[in-house]
Amino acid sequence: MTMHSGAKRSLLIAIVVAVALAPLLEWIVKTHSGNYFNGYYLGVLIDIAINIILAVSLNLINGHTGQFSLGHAGFMAVGGYTAAKLTLSLQAAVPVWAQPILFSAALLLGGLAAAVIGLGVGAPSLRLRGDYLAIVTLGFGEIIRVVFQTTDFFGAATGLPAIANWTNFAWAWSLAAVTVFVVACLVNSTYGRGFIATHDDEVAASAMGVNPVRYKVTAFVIGAFFAGIAGGLFAHHKRFLSPTSFDFMKSIDIVVMVILGGMGRTPGVIAAAIILTVLPEALRTFAEYRMIVYSLLIIGLMILRPQGLFTIGKGRTAKV
């Protein structure tokens, strides 16, 4: 009980800091732009928060529950398109003061849509294990992308332009904090031990009365829900959605964050999400060789820290 109230306090502090920092950062961007902080850095900070949501939610599936999913970008696409479509069709009818309400409704709906699709994908495919599951989720991720690419309602290959620019620092980082909180509390709860049991040994877990399929589906649905939220934030941040943003490489990027951070270790995964967002930006000076340098750095990190960035909490029963 004490641990939970402590976590709740950190969550509240994180949200308050994010909300308080947002107008300050925007003020700096407006008045002191170009010197030390500007719209580009603010954009990168928001990218970081979105990637933290994606990586931490995938960590619940891939890390804590030990199921190898390669379809996270697909769920992100579902959330992004759902939220964008909703705000695009309603924003003209909604007064300015109600915009945050519409935005939160859109994000929530995007998350729920992704969760429903996650349930549809997860329920049959999570009866598979390991490599087979990876291939099935990869396939589903691609199906989702192709559906958006060919549906005129969602802009087909053109994509959805002119989405409102509503994602700001406060939204992105508050939701990142909520994601970390929910995943951490879930895994550390009595119920959540089931995820780790499933991860450690499915046969032993089911012998102890834990239903592995149910836990796997739960992890999958919750992971998909947060991926959908991240998709909604992404849509209102980049202001343009194109099916090619959600291809298989995007899923791989998120998987790399989880593996680099250390499967099932939230602090490491958060650090990896930050590094893997900042690194490609910081390497822009290398121009054409940027992606080579980036890949070499990832290879280097993997060789030096194959167990993940942080190994704290390894000795404990719960890996947060």
């Binding site: 850095y41 990168v44 990218d47 053109t158 090619t244 602090p267 958060i270 054409e288």
Partner: protein
């Protein structure tokens, strides 16, 4: 705490190396220097750099030199928004040049529009690009025109009655061009025998090509990009589909003949420009380009990119200022400007009114066939 430490130390690395002030006019460019359409970005970048160098040797604009800042989009969606945001808010560019692919220009356009920074796309042909706002311009023709040109070419020059259309479902450019082609070709009394799709980046097109062959068309219109087109032509020859293949400006790349070899012989495509024809301006461009880039012949994309920088410099000169609104107004008033790819007059939709050329692939070279005026 560790989390915070990481983020701050990394941010600090990012923050260093910015904020230098100098008396140059900064111009931003975003291009696909790497990735799937890398030759597009490379060609454009060479054209833009050459134009900037020439403008600077001639004394620059408003007594200042131009500085070109280039960012790579990796031919990927999601990147243009980030890099254009960087160019505008961190580097403080006065205008943005780019991109070739329409979908990536469409992504960057709202950001330029919001920041009131003029953007000139050198060769995005989808009509929607300049519809993004009144700060968005281009210096190439648009797909309805290109589609019409190729449909008339199929009817008149190829004397084709039945055409199959093979479209890249992933690309908005391809779908748009296919639509405008179909409209004009059927209006000309022709029939479309088959409409099939592929996904850009596919390697095996035999299933669709077999289906196309079964409808025995007089020609196949492939409004795609060169990487796919070259492979499509090779596999068509293997299947014995020996009818003319033709397409749009997405074919324009040295790589087309490099990959396609004899399979692309006798194909046709429409594009913006050919080095054999044109004004004194275009002849001197070809000469300078060859000198600057080790004897390389410029393609249409370098020519368009050269023109985009040239049109911008002209507008800044006429505006007498680098202020977004004034440059925008000057760009909108561009009239009768002698450029490499023809005479450029910007219309009320911020598109230029200019001609297209049709080329034929012959002996591994692009041979000029005809010019079509709007």
């Amino acid at each position: 705490m560790k989390k915070l430490f990481w983020s701050f130390s990394l941010l600090a690395t990012l923050l260093t190396g910015c904020g230098k002030q100098n008396d140059m006019i900064k111009v931003g460019e975003f291009a696909s220097l790497t990735g799937k359409e890398a030759t597009f970005g490379q060609s454009s970048h060479e054209g833009t750099s050459l134009a900037i160098e020439e403008i600077n040797t001639a004394g620059g604009v408003l007594g200042k030199k131009l500085e070109l800042l280039t960012e790579d989009t990796q031919s990927k969606a999601g990147e243009p928004a980030t890099v254009v945001n960087k160019l505008i808010s961190r580097d403080g560019v006065v205008a943005v040049l780019g991109e070739v692919a329409s979908s990536r220009s469409l992504e960057a356009a709202p950001i330029c529009q919001q920041n009131k920074i003029p953007m000139i796309s050198p060769s995005s042909t989808n009509p929607k690009v300049t519809e993004s706002g009144d700060y968005i311009f281009r210096v190439c023709f648009i797909d309805p025109f290109q589609g019409t040109v190729m449909a008339n070419f199929a009817t008149k020059t190829l004397k084709a009655k039945k055409i199959a259309v093979f479209t890249d479902a992933k690309s908005d450019y391809s779908k748009g061009l296919a639509k405008f082609f179909k409209d004009q070709f059927t209006a000309n009394g022709g029939t479309i025998t088959a409409e099939l799709d592929y996904n850009g980046g596919d390697k095996d097109f035999k299933a669709q090509l077999t289906a196309i062959k079964a409808t025995s068309p007089d020609g196949v219109f492939v409004p795609g990009y060169y990487t796919d087109v070259a492979i499509i032509c090779i596999q068509a020859k293997q299947l014995g589909l020996n009818v003319p293949f033709f397409g749009g400006d997405g074919w324009e790349s040295e790589k087309l003949v490099e990959i396609g070899k004899e399979a692309v012989e006798g194909t046709y495509f429409s594009t913006h420009y050919h080095s054999d024809v044109g004004s004194a301006k275009s002849k001197s461009f070809v000469a300078n380009y060859k000198k600057r880039f080790n004897g390389k012949t410029p393609d249409a994309l370098s020519a368009c990119a050269y023109d985009s920088a040239f049109v911008l410099a002209d507008a800044i000169k006429r505006a007498g200022s680098t202020e977004g609104l004034k440059v925008r107004d000057a760009l909108a008033a561009t009239k009768g400007l002698e450029a490499v790819t023809g005479t450029i007059t910007i219309n009320e939709k911020r598109d230029p009114v200019k001609a297209a050329v049709i080329l034929k692939v012959e002996n591994g070279k692009y041979k000029y066939l005809e010019t079509v005026n709007p």
